[in-house]
């Protein structure tokens, strides 16, 4: 399901010395040396023999399983001025990711084996880290005909989604839930009732009332979440809910999971860190779909992340050309970047204030998304492929427009000082990034 250069080159040899090694799934939290031989974790212990390997000083740093981002817009084909496989995966590596999943709402849409095939081909030469490609649920993401899911899955699609758009017709949604099961891949849903969100620029509430923006009410998301959970329950199908933003959606998901519905979900760093109050600045880098919501919604998302209702953090990294965002808020496209700032944002805004434990953030950025899509979970264990991230949680850094590896800089964090920055990323046995 993942594609890249891995397997083409021998794995790296290295020793990370004296870092706090944190892997909740392995029940590991200790200051240790970790040795990697030929891209595979070979030894964990104290004062390990470097054996001539490259030694990386991890003192004072945290070593964790590298991150998996289940929601990235690589913009290829069609938007190469905004991002490419090379720039997007380099940005991901700098953000501590060892794998990412790319969304199919490109131009043309990834809905046929020819488009998917060329992406997989390009990833073999361009990708800095392994990348998976989701294919569309419906042809052209137009919501009328299903794509050839079995063929696309056999060719290597990592899952199916019409992200950016909902599957509006309930009957078609039902068919997709029935059919996709035989592919063994996940169906990922963008939940938005389009007649309720029509024209919406930001969350509907006191701030939109004051600013005069057409509201995009939280119920536009939650009615669709409730519909899709009902259909999944009826069909006993699995589904993954993309970028949840509303308290009612979290409540509906929690209730459905308690009844045994096989639903997973993700949430973005910006929805976890911000509320609609931030939109008062009228900064177009605060415009995204779904929109930033109220404080009550934000805390419901944080609670959902903590109790595992929401198992994954996803950046929804959505690069946009500079001129597209240098317009009045209403004219700007939806979307913000996030690959290079996700951990630092969560560390600074959730871990440091004591809202979410570090272990939970690390788990939801790595194991959680891998499990949601049935990918191999990054582990720090002897014999496991090396997928590691070394994190500096002490040194403050400032998010600058010219500091990105991404081709776009439409970050909601520009100018902010953050803590928590990856200094080394090992992806599928190879060093993909070193600060």
């Amino acid at each position: 399901m993942l594609h890249g250069k891995a397997g083409q080159a021998p794995g790296d040899d290295l020793v990370v010395r004296g870092a706090r090694v944190l892997d909740a799934a392995e029940r590991l939290d200790a200051v240790l040396d970790v040795r990697v031989d030929n891209g595979v974790v070979s030894q964990l212990g104290e004062a390990l023999d470097a054996n001539g390997h490259r030694v990386i000083d991890g003192e004072g740093l945290v070593l964790a399983p590298a991150f998996v981002d289940p929601h990235v817009h690589l913009r290829v084909p069609g938007g190469e001025d905004e991002e490419t496989i090379a720039s997007g995966t380099a940005a991901a590596a700098a953000g501590g990711y060892c794998a990412i999943l790319a969304m199919p709402n490109t131009d043309p849409v990834v809905d046929s084996s020819s488009v998917l095939g060329s992406l997989i081909e390009d990833a073999r030469t361009e990708a800095a880290i392994p990348v998976g490609f989701l294919a569309a649920i419906t042809r052209g993401q137009e919501g009328s005909e299903l794509t050839e899911m079995v063929e696309l899955a056999e060719q290597g699609a990592a899952g199916f989604t019409d992200d950016g758009r909902p599957v509006v017709a309930p009957a078609l949604m039902r068919r997709a839930l029935q059919y996709h099961g035989i592919t063994g891949r996940r169906l990922a849903l963008h939940c938005e009732e389009p007649t309720l969100s029509k024209g919406g620029q930001m969350h509907e509430g006191a701030v939109s009332a004051e600013l005069g923006f057409t509201g995009y009410p939280s119920v536009a998301e939650s009615v669709m979440v409730e519909r899709d959970l009902s259909l999944a329950a009826y069909e006993e199908a699995q589904l993954h809910l993309l970028h949840l933003s509303a308290r009612e959606s979290v409540d509906a998901l929690r209730a459905a999971r308690a009844k045994g519905v096989a639903a997973t979900a993700e949430v973005t760093p910006h929805h976890l860190c911000l509320t609609d109050d931030a939109v008062r600045s009228l900064d177009s880098n605060l415009k995204m779909n779904p929109p930033l919501r109220s404080a009550a919604d934000r805390y419901a998302l944080i609670d959902g992340l903590k109790d595992g209702t929401i198992g994954s953090v996803a950046t929804d990294h959505a690069p946009h050309a500079r001129h597209e965002k240098e317009v009045p808020f209403e004219a700007a496209p939806f979307g913000v970047t996030g690959l290079e700032t996700a951990f630092a944002a969560l560390y600074t805004h959730l871990v440091e204030p004591g809202l979410v434990p570090l272990e939970t953030v690390l788990e939801r950025m790595s194991t959680g998304p891998a499990r949601a899509y049935g990918l191999d979970e990054p582990r720090i264990a002897v014999g496991a492929p090396a997928n590691l991230v070394l994190l500096d949680t002490q040194r403050a850094w400032r998010v600058e427009e010219d500091g990105f590896r991404s081709r776009s800089a439409n970050s909601w964090l520009l100018g902010q000082t953050l803590r928590g920055r990856p200094t080394l990323t090992v992806a599928a046995g190879n060093v993909a990034f070193q600060a």
């Binding site: 024209g199 509430g205 006191a206 701030v207 009332a209 005069g212 009228l282 240098e326 808020f329 209403e330």
Partner: protein, 331 residues
């Protein structure tokens, strides 16, 4: 976006003060409004003189850029600038490079190259004045941005109310109609609340935005709620903004029957205001519009002196003189 400081003296750091703009009522303090209204009053006295032109802003350049049609706002800004002897230039979107697809940023950079002292902008999109403020060195006056703000309208309405009642504090104003699509309603509710007036928003539920009470006003869906007010402020029923099939109200007929301001619903002595242009027979009965208690023409006259005061205030830093400035000597 960099933070925009707007007419807030206390905000100014000691060196290199940030540019002063008038973009939103929310950026003003009560004393800013007091100062602007008393400046407007002094200009009003000066306009009673035979020679109405004042030399105050001689040599200054004021550019009016209107991306939406407007009669009273654009003419009143232009006349205000001329009364203060500023050089003015008015640009309408139709027939300009905007028609050729030029971005607002590029238009702002182009106009900025002439070093104007003030850019007055009306634009259909919220935040357009902020964008212009970001890309030029000029002081920016918002003459209406989408459904967001129309601060000079709110100031002229405050001026009108103060002229009529001698005060603003404690005056009860009922704002009636399509609040959802109205920048006038938003600016006025904020400005009136800032000055201590009581505000009640009245209209059909779909046209009252959810959460608007946070501006410091009350909400009623019953036209009867206007009975207790000192001022009935009637909003234009913005047909051009009512998208087809949106169903905010079933019909204009039902709107007029249920929320129209008719003589039967107006108590003697109650004052009636309207930002114009009016839809006679829709939101306001013609008999109400033409009655002696209507302040609608007073509002238009107030618009001139208030806009003079805004331009003057932005371009001068010292305190406002109590006496009106000397009139320009005409050769």
């Amino acid at each position: 976006m960099g933070q925009i400081h707007v007419m807030r003296e206390g905000y100014l750091p000691p060196r290199e003060p940030p540019q002063r703009h008038l973009i939103s009522i929310g950026d003003l303090e009560r004393e800013d409004v007091e100062r602007l209204l008393s400046t407007a009053a002094s200009f009003s006295r000066s306009l009673e003189r035979e020679v109405k032109k004042l030399p105050t802003l001689r040599g200054r350049t004021i550019v009016n850029v209107f991306y939406e049609s407007s009669t009273r706002t654009s003419s009143s800004f232009e006349l205000a600038a001329k009364r203060l002897s500023a050089d003015t230039m008015s640009i309408k979107a139709a027939g300009s490079s905007v028609d050729k697809g030029e971005s607002l940023k590029d238009t702002a950079l182009t106009l900025g190259a002439y070093d104007p002292d003030v850019i007055v902008i009306r634009h259909p999109q919220i935040g357009a004045p902020h964008l212009v403020a970001r890309y030029t060195d000029a002081r920016v006056v918002n003459a209406g941005d989408g459904k967001h703000q129309h601060p000079t309208q709110a100031l002229l309405d405050l001026y009108t109310i103060r002229e009529e009642f001698g005060r603003i504090e404690g005056v009860h104003v009922a704002i009636v109609g399509d609040v959802l699509h109205s920048r006038v309603a938003r600016s006025n509710a904020q400005a009136l609340a800032l000055m201590g007036a009581k505000v009640t928003l009245v209209g059909p539920p779909p046209l009252i935005p959810r959460g608007i009470e946070a501006l410091g006003c009350e909400v009623s869906y019953d036209i009867g709620a206007i009975a207790d007010s000192d001022v009935i402020y009637v909003l234009r029923m913005q047909r051009e903004r009512m998208a087809e099939g949106a169903n905010y109200v079933p019909s204009l007929r039902e709107y007029t029957a249920r929320w129209g301001v008719t003589p039967e619903r107006v108590r003697p002595g109650q004052k009636v205001m309207h930002p114009g242009p009016m839809n006679r027979g829709v939101e306001i009965d013609p008999r109400v519009a033409d009655a002696a208690d209507a302040l609608i023409e007073t509002q238009v006259r107030a618009g001139l002196v208030v806009r003079m005061a805004v331009l003057y205030d932005l371009l001068t830093t010292g305190p406002v003189p109590v006496e009106a400035p000397e009139p320009l000597e005409v050769a």
